[in-house]
Amino acid sequence: MTHVFHLPDIGEGLEEAEIVEWLVAIGDVVVRDQPLVEVLTDKASSELPSPVAGKVLSLGADEGARLRVGEVLIEIDDGTADVSAGQATSHVDDPADAPPSAARLPAVAPPIGGSRPKAAPATRRLALELGVDLAAITGTGPGSRITADDVQRATTPGTTPSPEAGTTASADDTSPRTESRLGQMSPGRHVLRGVRGVVARNMVQAWTEIPHIHTMDELDASLLMDFRERIRAMDRPGAAHVTPLAIAAVAAARALRRFPVVNGHVEGHPGDAIVILDEVHLGIATATERGLVVPVVRHADTLDLFAMASRIASLAAAARAGDLTAADLSGATFTITNYGSLGGRFATPIIPPGQGAILGLGAVVERPVAVDGEVVARPTLPLVLGADHRLIDGDLAETFRRAVVDDLTEPLHLLVGG
């Protein structure tokens, strides 16, 4: 069998050596450890001894030549029979159980637990910029992680904005979008991206995933307006902030407490689960220069009218100033949108993904109303409830809507609880 002796690393990191002098010739018979050749390295001149006994078959290089470590130095026929299991080369092979050359790090362990929403820091920043509440999103990433796409899909669809919460019946257009820019875009093709793109995606998600029903009504707002005037005349802090929107928010919160299903939402598409939440957090759709944001009045069911009104006012102010925090924008269980400020009366608002229903308020306008058989002029407030028909059937929708309508028609109901 031919024993091939490769030039070994004899000097702790040697790369090559020069053949100084061959001490044997082809055909010579050598014994084990007999010096074969003198080589020169940068460290020393060394004699290399034969690893086996046998007959020299070939020499790997001429005197004066340089060999690299691992190249063939000499071949010797050691006189044994060829073994099919392979040649006995100089021992550079690892033992059978050699450790692998590269150890992979374990895959990142799945989240250990905890009830906080899981999202990468970059995703959190995106959510903050878009005003998205991470707690309201079900993540579709590994380990139920919230991905950037989840955030973009969850951006509140643009219901028509409400102006500063202080006025609703006013015909003043206080929308931050100045008339001159509204509806303006240069001719050509504009790639749909940025906030507009996010809104588009949210709209599509909401519209395709939530089967909407809308039930509408127009209520006699005379007692409501009278109630509001008398409260505003009171010398109490927060009185000035009491608006029909604030009163409607209180009414909605009460109704949500009475009908928890409307406070819930459906998870998944077409639907995996109904999630009923114990707390009532009202999103108040608010238009700002940066677009639509929906600050949230947390625990709205625990607030009295003054507290509700103050909270809505301060959230609106913060929204205009750009001071809303992530906490202010997250966790809504129900949304109220007041397009009455733009003069709208009846609309079909779109439910934000992650919620089950939405209340829309139109402008208060004097209308002919039948009272005791006579036609009289009364201020009327149009109102619409949009509902997810997977969650809320017609009977519940009507009952909920009527509860709110009753409270707004006779605001004194708000005093007596239940």
């Binding site: 002796f5 490769h6 070994p8 690393d9 004899i10 000097g11 702790e12 450890d33 460290k43 020393a44 001149s45 060394s46 004699e47 290399l48 001894p49 690893p51 100089s90 021992h91 550079v92 033992p95 159980d97 050699a98 450790p99 692998p100 590269a102 150890a103 992979r104 790090l105 374990p106």
Partner: protein, 337 residues
């Protein structure tokens, strides 16, 4: 004074001849790319083998540097086994069985000297009768560990033999550049311990000196520093070329004082040794090292062996690292095949 008997001297010579031939074989294995850097024993056979014969393998400890193991085989056949495993790079190379009182090799010079002091001291605390003998070179005697350990040994009166093998060279640094002291044995005075300078190439003198130091230690007389003067006949290690710094005539003179030849001549004169005996001893030694080498390269190595025996049990992080290695190797991290 305890001279070794003729039988003892012959046994010492056998060990010396074996060590020489096996060291030569290991050198060739290195040149053949089969083992890593090794330190040849040429010139040190007498001081190491005679020391081993003057000690009691059942009670005394030896702490080597790295050049000695082939001449320490009196302390057990396992010494050769472990030394071959060490040379092929297997982790078991430094794991001697509990019955063999030879500490693992030390690459870091002189660090084993305080260990020897602590070990000797520990044996006293445990009421175990035995001495610790630690080998180190002239170069190592400049390290702080030597001085701290010698000083502590004196204070504790630990039963330790500090055996400095002065082979005249620390790689390329000759003795006169290593120290300005007239002798290394003189250092003992500074530590209040016994010091003794001997001809390390005279097996009988080595035996005698070690035996005396051992008795002193066991009798509560404290430590001894023995400076055994030899000459390094080979290279420092396989990575060294001594022709660059050792004057040829010095080496020639040293070769004429070769300890193996010296003892062989002495015993031949007594009719206890001849060429035939030498050939037989060498052949048997070669067979044993070849067999030990074959066993060493076939010693199994688990794929996660790199983690074994770092701690008694893995830390949580180590356990994950181990699992990752097993997984990458296609093994069940739970421990299956």
């Amino acid at each position: 004074m305890t001279r070794p008997s003729d039988d003892q001297l012959r046994a010492i010579l056998v060990d010396m001849v074996e060590a020489r031939i096996q060291s030569g074989r290991l050198w060739n294995l290195q040149r053949q790319g089969q083992v890593g850097t090794m330190a040849p024993i040429d010139g040190h056979e007498a001081v190491v083998a005679a020391t081993a014969h003057a000690l009691d393998p059942a009670h005394d400890w030896i702490l080597p540097q790295y050049r000695e193991p082939l001449a320490l085989q009196r302390f057990g056949p396992e010494v050769l086994e472990q030394y071959m495993l060490y040379n092929v790079g297997h982790p078991d190379g430094s794991r001697l069985p509990p019955t063999v009182r030879v500490a693992p090799l030390q690459i870091s010079l002189a660090t084993q000297i305080p260990h020897a002091v602590g070990l000797a001291w520990g044996m006293t605390l445990r009421n175990e009768s035995g001495v610790a003998t630690v080998f180190f070179g002239d170069g190592s005697s400049s390290e702080g560990d030597f001085h701290e350990a010698a000083n502590l040994a004196g204070v504790l009166q630990a039963p330790v033999i500090l055996l400095c093998v002065n082979n005249q060279w620390a790689i390329s640094t000759p003795l006169h550049q290593q120290t300005a002291a007239a002798t290394l044995a003189d250092r003992a005075v500074g530590y209040g311990i016994h010091g003794h300078r001997i001809d390390g190439n005279d097996a009988a003198e080595v035996f005698d000196a070690v035996d005396e130091a051992r008795r002193r230690a066991l009798d509560g007389g404290g430590p001894t520093l023995i400076e055994a003067v030899v000459y390094r006949l080979g290279a420092h290690t396989t990575a060294d070329d001594p022709t660059r710094y050792i004057p040829a005539e010095d080496l020639e003179a040293a070769r004429r004082a070769d300890p193996v030849a010296r003892l062989a001549d002495h015993l031949t004169g007594l009719g206890l040794w001849d060429d035939e005996t030498r050939t037989a001893v060498e052949a048997e030694a070669m067979t044993r090292i070849d067999e030990a080498f074959e066993r060493a390269i076939s010693q199994p190595l688990a794929v996660d062996a790199v983690f074994d025996h770092c701690f008694a049990t893995d830390t949580p992080r180590m356990a994950r690292q181990r699992a990752a290695v097993l997984e990458a190797a296609g093994r069940d991290p739970g421990g299956g095949p």
